[in-house]
């Protein structure tokens, strides 16, 4: 009792305190109420002062231009919204790329908004005006007029730029233009010149080949012109469904091309020559050529060689042999074989060669000597980064010190620019005029799609300026086209007409272009006998030099990063490698046997030593990898690429060897050693590669297909009464026989749908956000671990008619549309993740954090500049909501609307999803099932059509066409 009383008495303040507690509560309530009712920040709407003619806010404009992502120079169409390029698509007018693109090309639009780009010219590390820097440079050039002036570039495929360089050599007597390619083809180039007297590398036509044999040439992934070759390969495969077509691949590492071959054979990286010789021997025998060939003892699969050689011979004139080696003798042998087979002029075109990869390794080595000798007074580097991608990068940097003036045109302060006196940042190609001739006779134009973002200047304009001419590359290109190309055609009668059409189409084909067959292009046997002897000799030397415990090293390019010039592009860094599914960094690929010998597993750190050069890399154990060969990807380990690309992986260029004046990407003197206890977990998006015998990727042999089995699947009965659908029934079919897994679609989707980049840590946690992924299943033959059965399967939301995800969402955040789309409504989602759990295909992606505008995820949407790439028609998802493939519903809406606006029927094929548009193999078809004549409806009726996990009765609207295997690939999964 007393207690109770005191409880009141002893605290006179109790009441008051309670009261102002209440008032405080009241206040906060009121405040929050006010806050919630107030309309937040007032939004301003600022119209144009004078609206540009061609621009309406909210309406997209398309411009034709040319990709500068690599030397293949694919023609592009660029989508701009309100003056900003936001999406890159292939230009269907192009006879080469045929409207396809690669992941790199898709990602270049993001590089435009790279905040690490230089915003203006720099002189000795200080910002400076263009006038000032021009003055200083012209002074020094004048001083150096009689002395060595060198322009060091990568391959220039632009005729106008080539003409401009010619002007320079006219002006400066001692001017030299040296070009090299980070990944060199100079041996192939030299061999072609020696054999056929052509300058350039042959232009290959896989679409005309019935038998394809590749020796370590990843022509579907990174070799020369992957987009074009993928298109050809897929086209040939499509035709082959009704006949015989076979692709053999001999390779040391597992490449994208090898994964897609009908028959893949392992080999040691040093056996290029041996295999080429073996093929030559057998084919020569067929051809009745009797001269004996030197022997090399290499452990190569004679049966495989015999099979390949016989098929090559059977299909002579429509077969093709390509080799990725950078050794002149080997390439001579390859040319010899193609010549004997009569493929020259049929599938291997040397009259109208590819103008890619004109680099000359010897010239660069010579240049370094000249620089050291002091013969070079002005050095201009354009499109190359020798400090990074030359094997002797450090030597080059040292040599730069003895050059009076070094100028870099790099768009950022990269490894070379950092050591240059002057940096005159070039435009991004989407800001600049230009042209290209990647293959003799096929031209394309490049036009600016946006006014320069920064105070940059096209390299060509700088070069013009320093020649004392008006820095106007546009007129220069026009002039070149008037001079060179206008005359070659008779379709247009005024140049302006010609120019406008070319600019509109983006491409121009020289009508004179056409394949003059010289099937009988024989080459002097003495030449290839010499080459054969050289190969045998090298082989013996190498065999003698090989230490017992040493491994062979093979350096390769990855589909994502290629030679590393795009290392600062987060889309590419997070693009899973098609073969290993690893993102963010390189690693050392080991055969399982080698891993066992070293006692390492994937993720353990291995120290690799070549002479005194050492580097530590995580291991990746790869079935199919040659026993004694390890592979490392080039293009990583940049230290001046920018915030994203710096210190990702290890730079492997210093490991490149030299031989006979040519770079060599294979070497035999590598010692490996396990770094005990050290781990570098790889950021892989797929860690389990066996299909576990599950009927997910269905395969059919050519025989079965031709013999009409299996029958078309009867549709599964549904428990539910069929709901009546709407006007359309959208559906997609993916041809697993055409898909090579090149992953262009992944980046295209990322660009189109504002898919965030989450970084290596999140990928390690299994939280990548890609809406479309490419599942890669590999099963190894028990007897022979080089005979892989690799299957790629693009996997995105299957848009099930009876979707398991929809039933379980408590708040109706995912429901079915009347036209067959499984809709995800982000703003309704409360994030229970139940749908994700109940999705059999695991294609739903959850926003674990606030990715957009979050400093923790400083990749694509933090910097206001980067945000300019966002697609304004797709909402940027916030934290805590589920997202997934929408079948590019924004594109469907847009096309339906424009059809309505123009009062026409929505034609089949008008709507192209982002993945479909980018696909160089045309493996993806989208359309309306309600129209029985539509392509997709036709494919759905095909005997090869199936849907994944159909036994679950989810009735997906996304279907697949079975893979067709050809040849005795009996060792199939399950």
């Amino acid at each position: 009792m007393a207690q109770e009383l005191t409880f009141f008495k002893r605290r006179p303040d109790a009441e008051t305190s309670r009261r102002d507690f209440l008032t405080r509560i009241g206040f906060t309530l009121a405040a929050s109420a006010l806050a919630s009712c107030s309309r937040g920040p007032v939004q301003k709407a600022i119209p144009f002062l004078n609206k540009p003619e061609e621009q309406t806010p909210g309406v997209a404009n398309w411009y034709a231009t040319t990709c500068a992502g690599c030397s293949a120079a694919c023609p592009l169409l660029v989508k701009t919204r309100d003056g900003r390029p936001i999406k890159i698509e292939g230009n269907g007018e192009s006879p080469l790329s045929g409207g396809g693109t690669c992941a790199t090309g898709q990602a270049t639009v993001l590089s435009l908004y790279d905040p690490d780009r230089l915003t203006g010219p720099m002189w000795h590390g200080e910002t400076i005006t263009w006038d000032e820097i021009d003055r200083r440079i012209t002074e020094r050039l004048a001083a150096a007029r009689e002395r060595g002036v060198v322009l060091l570039t990568n391959t220039i495929v632009s005729p106008s730029t080539t003409a401009l360089i010619a002007d320079w050599s006219r002006r400066f007597p001692k001017f030299r233009h040296v070009s090299y390619d980070a990944v060199s083809f100079s041996a192939l180039r030299q061999a072609t010149r020696e054999c056929f007297g052509t300058a350039g590398v042959p232009h290959y036509r896989f679409d005309r080949a019935t038998t394809i044999v590749g020796i370590d040439a990843d022509f579907l992934g990174t070799w020369l012109a992957p987009v074009e070759f993928t298109r050809q390969h897929a086209a040939r495969r499509r035709r082959a469904l009704s006949g015989e077509m076979r692709h053999y691949q001999f390779e040391a590492g597992v490449s994208l091309t090898g994964s897609n071959a009908d028959r893949r054979f392992g080999m040691a990286a040093s056996d290029h020559g041996a295999i080429a010789l073996a093929l030559l021997r057998r084919i020569a025998a067929h051809a009745g050529i009797t001269e004996p060939l030197p022997d090399v003892d290499a452990a190569i699969d004679e049966h495989a060689i015999a099979a390949a050689a016989d098929d090559l011979w059977r299909d002579r004139g429509q077969s093709i042999l390509v080799c990725g080696s950078n050794d002149v003798s080997i390439q001579v042998i390859v040319h010899a074989i193609n010549a004997i087979l009569g493929n020259i002029g049929a599938t291997v075109d040397v009259d109208l060669p590819s103008l890619q990869k004109q680099g000359d390794d010897g010239a660069v080595d010579a240049l370094v000597e000249d620089m050291n000798r002091g013969d070079v007074h002005v050095l201009m580097t354009y499109g190359v980064n020798p400090a990074y991608d030359l094997p002797a990068g450090p030597e080059f940097v040292r040599a730069m010190e003895s050059v009076a003036l070094t100028i870099s045109f790099a768009d950022r302060l990269d490894e070379t620019a950092a050591h240059s006196h002057a940096v005159c940042p070039d435009h991004h190609f989407l800001e600049a005029w230009g042209d290209a001739e990647p293959v003799k006779g096929s031209f394309s134009l490049a036009q600016p799609t946006i006014a320069p973002l920064f105070n940059t200047r096209a390299a060509q304009e700088s070069l013009l300026k320093w020649l004392g001419e008006s820095p106007d590359f546009y007129s220069y290109v026009r002039a070149v086209w008037r001079r060179e190309l206008y005359a070659r055609q008779d379709r247009y009668h005024t140049f302006d007409e010609f120019w406008d059409h070319s600019l509109h189409d983006g491409v121009f084909e020289d009508p004179a272009r056409g394949y003059r067959s010289q099937g009988s292009a024989r080459l002097d046997p003495e030449r290839w006998h010499a080459a054969a002897r050289a190969i045998a000799h090298d082989h013996q030397r190498a065999a003698a030099a090989r230490m017992p415990d040493s491994y062979e090293l093979q350096l390769y390019e990855t589909v994502a990063l290629r030679d590393g010039r795009h290392a600062n592009n987060p889309w590419l860094q997070e693009l899973p490698d098609p073969v290993t599914k690893v993102t963010w960094g390189n690693y050392i690929v080991l055969a399982p046997s080698a891993a066992k010998a070293l006692e390492v597993e994937t993720g353990d750190v291995v120290r690799l030593a070549v002479g005194d050069h050492m580097c530590d890399l995580p291991a990746y154990v790869q079935p199919g990898q040659a026993q004694r060969t390890v592979s490392i990807a080039l293009g990583y380990g940049r230290d001046r690429a920018g915030k994203v690309g710096n210190a990702v992986g290890v730079n492997a260029f210093p490991l490149v060897a030299a031989h006979g004046g040519h770079r060599r990407y294979v070497r035999g003197d590598v010692v490996l050693q396990r770094r005990t206890g050290k781990q570098l977990p790889l950021a892989a998006t797929q860690t389990h590669h066996s299909i576990e015998g599950r009927p997910i990727v269905k395969t059919i042999t050519l025989e079965e297909l031709l013999s009409g089995t299996p029958e078309v699947m009867a549709p599964q009965p549904s428990l539910w009464p069929e709901r009546e659908g709407g006007e359309h029934h959208w559906s997609m079919v993916i041809d697993l026989n055409a898909c090579t897994g090149c992953s262009a679609c992944v980046t295209a989707c990322q660009a189109e749908n504002n898919v965030p980049v989450v970084g290596p840590d999140e990928v390690r946690r299994g939280r990548e956000m890609h809406w479309i992924r490419i599942d890669r299943y590999v099963d190894v033959a028990p007897d022979n671990d080089a005979a892989l059965d690799v299957a790629f399967q693009p996997m995105m939301c299957q848009h099930c008619q009876d979707a398991p995800c929809e039933t379980v969402c408590p708040v109706l955040a995912t429901v079915h549309s009347s036209d067959g789309i499984n809709q995800q409504i982000y703003n309704r989602c409360i994030g229970t993740r139940y749908c994700e759990n109940n999705c059999p295909y695991k294609v739903r992606r959850f926003n674990w954090f606030q990715y957009a505008g979050n400093q923790e995820f400083d990749y694509t949407t933090t910097d206001p500049l980067e945000r300019m790439v966002l697609n304004p028609d797709v909402v940027v998802r916030s934290r805590g909501v589920m997202e997934k493939c929408s079948l590019c519903v924004q594109r469907i809406q847009a096309e339906k609307l424009s059809a309505k606006q123009e009062g026409r029927r929505l034609a089949d094929g008008r709507i192209k999803t982002a993945c479909q548009q980018s696909c160089p193999a045309n493996a993806i078809v989208f359309g309306d099932l309600n129209d029985p004549e539509s392509e997709v409806a036709r494919l759905r009726r095909s005997r090869r059509h199936f849907t994944v996990l159909e036994e679950l009765g989810t009735r997906p609207n996304v279907g697949y066409l079975m893979r067709v295997t050809n040849g005795e690939k009996t060792e199939k999964p399950s």
């Binding site: 709901r723 109706l812 009735r955």
Partner: protein
């Protein structure tokens, strides 16, 4: 009401057995038992006092039916009539899927109705001044209360009767209704 009207004979017992005897005896004498107070439910007392069986279960049934009908009707309205959405290809009226919620709300309705009926029937409401006839009935006492003003009431006789049946104390007391 005059004091006489509110005057009661209050007998206190220590033991439910004696209490029941007393109740029987008193009623045998044709006297009406006003009420009995105990610390717990005494089995057999209902019979002795011949109390009618409670009809609370009707409230339970009513509440249950209300909950069932209301929930089913609302689910049907929301999912079929108001806005029929295609959820996983299921029919708009997926009655089976509506049953679990309907069941829960049935139970909820029934339960709350029962308790509400009980409280109101027994006039159990939050009060500051509860006046039990004897503070000990909630602890260990058993009390029998008889209204004084009734026919055939004879105080002395009744007191004797009660003591005979083991009452400890018998007092006359005024009880507020």
């Amino acid at each position: 009401m005059s004091d006489a009207a509110r005057e009661f004979i209050v007998a206190r017992f220590e033991d439910e057995r004696r209490l029941i005897d007393a109740v029987r005896a008193v009623r045998a004498r044709g006297l009406r038992v006003y009420d009995v107070y105990a610390p717990y439910a005494i089995h057999g007392l209902d019979a002795a006092m011949s109390l009618r069986r409670s009809r609370l279960s009707i409230a339970t049934l009513a509440g249950g039916i209300a909950g069932l009908v209301a929930s089913l009707a609302f689910e049907f309205y929301a999912a079929v009539i108001d806005w029929a959405l295609n959820v996983g290809g299921k029919p708009d009226n997926s009655t089976l899927a509506f049953i679990p919620i309907a069941f829960e709300l049935t139970v909820l309705g029934a339960g709350l109705a029962t308790v509400a009926a009980f409280l109101s029937r027994c006039r159990l409401l939050p009060t500051m001044n509860a006046r039990p006839v004897d503070a000990a009935v909630t602890d260990d006492a058993f009390v029998l209360a008889l209204r004084c003003r009734q026919t055939a009431f004879d105080r002395s006789l009744v007191e004797r009767l009660l003591f005979e049946h083991g009452a400890e104390t018998v007092v006359s007391k005024v009880i507020e209704p």
